[in-house]
Amino acid sequence: MAINKNSNGYTFAFAIIMVVVVGTLLAVASQGLKSRQDKNTSDKKMINILGAINVEASRDNAQEMFNKYVVESKIISGEDLSAPAFDVDIKKEFRDKSLTILDRNYPLYICEKEGNRYYVIPVVGTGLWGPIWGFVAIDSDYKTIYGATFDHKGETPGLGAEIKQSSYSDQYAGEVVADYSGAFIPIIVVKDGSGKGMNSKVDGITGGTITSKGVEEMTTRTLGVYVNYFNSLNN
């Protein structure tokens, strides 16, 4: 053997070549797959928005269904109201500590289904282990919740992760977020099982209290902003 594999030179050369090869490989993979990954993310977002108005879409027809049902996307409050609403990353803005609640962008998706208008509001908050988010659809009376979907990054399966299930999110349908005068009514998550019926309360998840409370916090914080906006439309 001509090369001494225990020499410093060999070790350094090996390390350098390895790092360059691995680095290049990963960079190529990341760049090459990026467009597919971005499409998956935006498809998922469309599926979730449509899910809030009870329209089932799959990854295959997400774009088509989105174009069919969503008639307008706009930003109701934020830096630049003319920016494309779909591209607003509210999760990123939520994480950004330098932005106050007022600085954040608030996108709104206006959907039309069977002649009725629905207003889909994106919400984002914090669960137990990481971010949670969702979409809440408000009926054309500007106060009754038509449907909601929630999702999470890494809540405990079987506990906090249950917010994703329809058994949890269906409780929101029919709840009212504003009284007759237009004042905001938050939807409270309760533990005592009294959430049944339309009383601005929903039952939390046993063993998933922190996640459930996270949902309460994010809907309260965000829906209030939109209720004010809806009031300004009414007046």
Binding site: K5, F14, A15, L33, Q37, N40, K44
Partner: protein, 215 residues
């Protein structure tokens, strides 16, 4: 390559694959990779996908390290193994995100944690570094399955008793709940995975007396 040929599935090679299923199982005998066995065995589906991901990384890791075993400088071999494993895991994660986004969402952070799975580093260091490519492949498959079956069995019991479901389908009928049956929420929490693994070890050792240590 011109050495005398050994049959591809000779007795010795078969043992490489079958041993990790029982006698030298990475989880129940070597007690490696316990952390992921606790974390992702709440639902059977997750356990399946996680096992597949670990097996893929283990197979490619073993192949690459075995193919390069004469080139890797021994002084930095652990670092080299770590880089190979980390690169593979990132690659698997990127591919899952691009081609199987729904699965990727389910596994979320656990894919990244494959890097720290002791089974993988253990097999690279203990086997692939000193063996040819073909035995290393068999060893990886064997250990991957050995890891996987424990995960799936643990997940089966945890999902069945913790949520009354298997693969997300309701198994325990509604009438049981009406009669006062309740899901055991303890099963969903990590400690019960430890106890379930311990029960598997108990059953295994009572069947396979060789495994019982004397002291």
């Amino acid at each position: 390559m011109s050495e005398k040929k050994e049959a591809l599935f000779s007795k010795k090679n078969r043992k490489l694959m079958t041993d990790p299923l029982d006698g030298s199982n990475p989880i129940s005998v070597q007690v490696l990779g316990i952390c992921s066995a606790l974390a992702i065995t709440v639902q059977v589906e997750q356990a399946f996908v996680m096992s597949a991901a670990v097996m893929a990384v283990l197979i490619f890791g073993n192949l690459i390290v075995s193919a390069m075993r004469n080139l890797i400088p021994s002084r930095i071999r652990i670092i080299v193994q770590l880089v190979i494993v980390a690169a593979l895991v990132i690659l698997v994660n990127e591919l899952l995100k691009a081609f199987m986004p729904d699965v990727s969402e389910k596994l979320s952070v656990f894919v990244g944690l494959i890097i720290t799975n002791c089974i993988i580093m253990g097999r690279l260091e203990a086997f692939a570094l000193g063996n040819k490519v073909w035995p290393s492949l068999l060893d990886a498959i064997g250990n991957g399955i050995g890891y996987g079956w424990i995960l799936v069995v643990v997940a089966f019991f945890r999902e069945l008793f913790g949520s009354g479901k298997i693969f997300g389908f309701q198994i325990i009928p509604e009438s049981f709940y009406d009669a006062g049956y309740m899901n055991n929420n303890m099963m969903i929490l990590p400690p019960m995975a430890l106890i379930t693994v311990a029960l598997i070890i108990w059953v295994q050792r009572s069947k396979n007396i060789d495994l019982i240590e004397e002291n």
